[in-house]
């Protein structure tokens, strides 16, 4: 499973980082540093989905 952030949508709500800071790293200003394609370690898929769903700006998605 891979996840991605659309940097033009991210507004630094920081809610993804609250779900899991390692899966959803943030930069110094609190914006997502997930990048265009980030591997989710096996076994953490559910947390990744929770994090994606937690974004109020809908900036995160699970890549097909």
């Amino acid at each position: 499973m891979r996840i991605a952030v659309d940097n033009s949508l991210c507004e630094a709500h920081g809610q993804c980082g609250v779900v899991d800071y390692d899966l959803f790293p943030l930069d110094d200003d609190g914006f997502s540093a997930v990048g265009p394609s980030r591997e989710v370690p096996a076994g953490e898929e559910a947390t990744a989905e929770l994090g994606v769903a937690s974004c109020p700006a809908r900036a995160l998605r699970v890549l097909p």
């Binding site: 507004e11 709500h13 920081g14 943030l26 200003d29 947390t47 109020p56 700006a57």
Partner: protein, 399 residues
Amino acid sequence: MTVDLTAPAASADPYAVFRSLRDTDPVHWSEAHRAWLITRYDDVSDAFRNKAFSNDRVRPVLARRKEPSAASDVLGLLAGWMVVTDPPEHTRLRRLAAGAFKGQRIAVMGEQITAIVDRLLSAFLEGDGAQDLISEVAYPLPAIVIATMLGAPPADRDRFREWSDELALVAFGTGGAARADRHQRALRGLREMDAYFHTLVDHRRRALGDDMLSALMARDGDDLLSDDELVAMCALLLFAGHETTTNSIANATLALLRHPDQLDRLRADPDLIGPAVEELLRFDGPIKVLNRWVVAETEVRGKRISPGERVHLVLASANRDPMRFDDPDTLDLGRNPNPHIAFGKGIHACIGAQLARMETRIAVSRIVSRMPGLALAEEPVWKDVLASRAMDRLVVRHS
């Protein structure tokens, strides 16, 4: 014109005041608060990442005190709170705390929280006539949850509530001779709290469990929280997670009672609780204002803001800004997307947001489903305070 947000009329309906500020003077110098009131969504958002605005406000006060006083050691404890630090101190503390708030860790709390809520509600339902939903349910719940998460024995849980009140008294500062006595008592209470948390930390160091305090002891590379830092973290979690959550549940319940169509909608579709709680937090969330200290010259919407001044980020106004939300004064439980900032934004965004959401969702769901006859029994009165949107009592009937 100068606006005083703690005037009784402004406390009763702050949203009218915010509307006029957003329209006429969105970056307003308030002589009453001796601070800038920033009220538009975009400006508040930008302020969260403006490096001229600092959270570091306790240490400068501490440094100015020449004589160590009874308050110094308690202030020393508060000064270590990540919410009153800037990077790089903040970055370190936040990283070390983040593991304890991970998604799965919070998710497993669901059953326990439901059990606590149901126990409080069962006692409430045994009572007859008009009763206060805040003192009986919304107020005790978050303190019990935090005590449970930190692994404190059930017998000690009542003390968490007292400490939480005492922390609020000391952290928000009170001043005035009439309050001096309460202040002294609060400081004594907090020294007890300090000793209590140190003992809890000692125990846990020797036998790690699956509680949050044990998780806070985990290493980040070769760094870890010291005993004093762990004690400060426990106190911060209690302070930041108690009153906010109480008011989140109480304000949400009141908003539903005032919008019977939305209450019916939620009862008909209980799965709506997720977006419903986000909307309730947007519509009348527990925090009106966050404070920042100005540490460098900056400009917001053409107003020059200078070091030594303060700014108030008016979250409750940003959440009603029509430039960001359609029909902002309408409560629409299905609103989506809902980029409200009741949990703040940027590096200090609420670390307990997942827990707070879960508590509010469970409490509100259970309140509306277990009390089909829920009705207001008394017009609530809003507290005249700047930072929070809080009622003293929420008196309701359940049948």
